[in-house]
């Protein structure tokens, strides 16, 4: 390095204030005075190109001169551009001696990191409908929105002549956390590949000490991130399978052993009938009683009493009904001729049932007119109910899909703004 190297200070040629240059490279075209709004030509002795007085500096937790490491690269914030479309946001121009220029955008508490790319999209982003695919490089984006953005504030070093009031047409397509941003001015069209950054990562990168404002809304590039729910949902998935296998095993192999089957004719059922004795050997496990009627467009209420040594130990009622017919949409049916009851007995031994059709109705009138039906009863002992496993499987299934459901709800919110506009 030459010892005769010259040092030169830079002051605004319009107002004389010291200018905070932060080391942008040779592509810097303008230097924008934060004090008086003068736009200075960085290549022509900082001649004043324009001046925008009374600029309102937008709110932003980062400022020109800050340094931070993003994507493993050291960057310095050298310029700031405030923009307005439906809301206001800030584009911060970053410079790295090794990676050149990039943008860090801040809007409603959200950050995106953007760099220029020179790929050509397959498809016209200016004509695509919302959610239609757009292919750029090896990424597939979905069309999001188009809008016009106006510059409201300029400060620091910039690679182009930016003026307050300048407008650009913007188009965005997304593949969270990626966003393709296309900016079209009268002079050129530029593509930027943006990536959503978590605010905590930006705060750490720039060593911000003050808490960042809370994020508002969902940024188009913001990925759905819910690690805990995702972990819980993922953990639940194998258990859904395990419970399904257990349920299948119970259904196939633990249905118990039939110990009695009896047919009760219609008159006996109306008058009440005591069944023949049947023996329950294992009183620790459930007894299943299956009842099968022959109701047709009718219902019946059955009173059932379990008896042991001629004493009543358990009774219950069961309403059954079966209806079918044809209408405009074809055949229909509802109800069932089959019902089940489960109970335990106090001790091993012989038992009987008393069964009686106490109420019923027939046809459309469904009056108190006991319909003719016979009943077949089947008793199984050592029965294992899959009931709790069914409940558990439903619970696990809900947990397993909770992450996907939450993601779907999140995506619907993400797209709501642009799909409503589209409608």
């Amino acid at each position: 390095m030459s010892s005769t190297a010259k040092l030169r200070s830079i002051r605004c040629t319009a107002c004389g204030a010291p200018l905070a240059l932060h080391g942008g490279g040779h592509k810097i075209l303008t230097l924008n005075c934060q004090h008086c709004g003068a736009v200075l030509d960085a290549r022509k002795e900082y001649a004043v190109l324009a001046q925008f007085k009374e600029q309102q500096k937008p709110d932003c937790p980062l400022d020109i001169g800050m340094q931070g490491k993003l994507k493993g690269v050291d960057f310095t914030i050298i310029g700031m551009v405030g923009r307005f479309a439906e809301g206001e946001w800030v584009d911060l121009l970053l410079f790295s001696p090794t990676h050149g220029y990039a943008w860090l955008s801040y809007e409603n508490g959200h950050f995106t990191f953007a760099r220029r790319i020179r790929d050509v999209p397959t498809g016209d982003i200016w004509l695509l409908a919302v959610k239609k695919p757009l292919y750029v490089g090896n990424r597939t984006f979905k069309m999001y929105e188009r809008y016009q953005a106006d510059i409201t504030y300029v400060a620091g070093e910039l690679t182009w002549l930016a003026k307050v009031g300048d407008s650009a047409e913007m188009a965005e397509a997304i593949a969270p956390p990626w966003l393709l941003s296309v900016e079209r001015t009268a002079r050129e069209t530029e593509l930027y590949l943006c990536e959503y950054l978590q605010p905590a990562d930006v705060a750490a990168a720039f060593q911000l000490t003050e808490a960042l404002p809370d994020r508002k809304g969902i940024n188009p590039a913001q990925p759905f991130v819910s690690p805990r729910l995702e972990a819980v949902s993922r953990a639940a998935r194998p258990f859904v399978l395990v419970v399904a296998v257990v349920m299948l095993f119970i259904w196939l192999f633990m249905g118990g052993e039939e110990v009695h089957r009896e047919y009760i004719a219609q008159p006996d059922l109306v008058n009440g009938k005591v069944t023949k004795n049947f023996t329950i050997h294992d009183h620790h496990r459930l007894v299943e009683m299956q009842m099968e009627t022959r109701l047709n467009n009718a219902w019946a209420y059955l009173d059932v009493t379990v008896q042991h040594n001629k004493a009543e130990i358990y009774s219950f009622g069961k309403e059954m009904g079966f209806y079918s017919g044809y209408d405009d949409e074809g055949y229909w049916e509802e109800g069932s001729n089959t019902a089940y009851a489960h109970f335990k007995v106090p001790e091993p031994g012989e038992y009987t049932l008393h069964v009686q059709e106490s109420e019923g109705g027939e046809g459309d009138l469904a009056e108190q007119n006991k319909p003719p039906t016979a009943l077949t009863i089947a008793i199984r002992e050592s029965y294992t109910s899959p009931y709790y496993f069914v409940l558990l499987s439903i619970l696990l299934a809900v947990v397993a899909i909770a992450h996907a459901v939450a993601r779907g709800w999140y995506e619907s919110r993400r797209w709501a703004a642009v799909t409503e506009d589209d409608d």
Partner: protein
């Protein structure tokens, strides 16, 4: 480490500067922004060596891009109107290509002497015009003069410090790029390639 003992021209405070990588500093006392004028140029001009500037690529330090590993074996720096850019001759096994680096704009190019005949006349060529080759139109996106500042390592061509040439950059579809070089002495040459994303370049450390 190249330390100096400059004093701030505004307030006279001692500036603990290290100009090895930066051309700029802010005085800690009066906040004046200071920069070093053309230091890199002078160093290169005196010694015909390349001033050490921050660079993702380094001689003999392999890097990978899209699954391939390249090793820079030669380095040329060109100065042009806006500043300078670097050209690296990198080897991928027995094959070589040029990697052009200008403030984060990276392009891979290979020599294509027969890319176009006759070469467009650089004297009349203008930025924004199109150059037709076969059925493809290429837009002239840059036209400038440059001077070789220095060379390092092994190069596939005779390139000497001080050599001057004109050049055109042509942009095509899918990040395609063609550079047409017009040496002041010698035949024009074409290089074809494409822009690449520096964030996809991984330097092996």
């Amino acid at each position: 480490m190249l330390n100096t003992t400059h004093n701030c021209p505004q307030c006279g405070s001692l500036l603990p500067l290290n100009f090895r990588y930066s051309k700029l500093a802010v005085c800690g006392h009066c906040s004046s922004t200071l920069f070093l004028e053309d230091a890199a140029v002078r160093l290169a001009g005196k010694a015909s060596v390349l001033a050490e500037m921050p660079s993702l690529l380094q001689l003999q330090v392999p890097f990978s891009y899209q699954g391939k590993t390249y090793t820079p074996v030669g380095h040329v720096r060109y100065r042009y109107q806006d500043g300078f850019w670097d050209e690296w001759w990198v080897l991928d096994g027995a094959d070589g290509c040029w990697v052009s680096v200008d403030e984060g704009d990276f392009a891979f190019e290979i020599p294509r002497p027969d890319w176009i005949h006759p070469f467009p006349d650089i004297r009349t060529a203008q930025v924004g015009q199109t150059v037709k080759r076969l059925t493809q139109s290429w837009e002239i996106t840059e036209k400038d003069l440059c001077t070789c500042e220095g060379v390092q390592g092994e190069l596939p061509e005779h390139i000497l410090p001080g050599e001057r040439m004109g050049y055109l950059h042509l942009s095509g579809p899918e990040s395609a790029l063609v550079t047409l070089e017009y040496p002041f002495q010698g035949e024009p040459m074409a290089y074809e390639g494409r822009w690449v994303d520096p964030f996809e370049i991984r330097v092996t450390t």
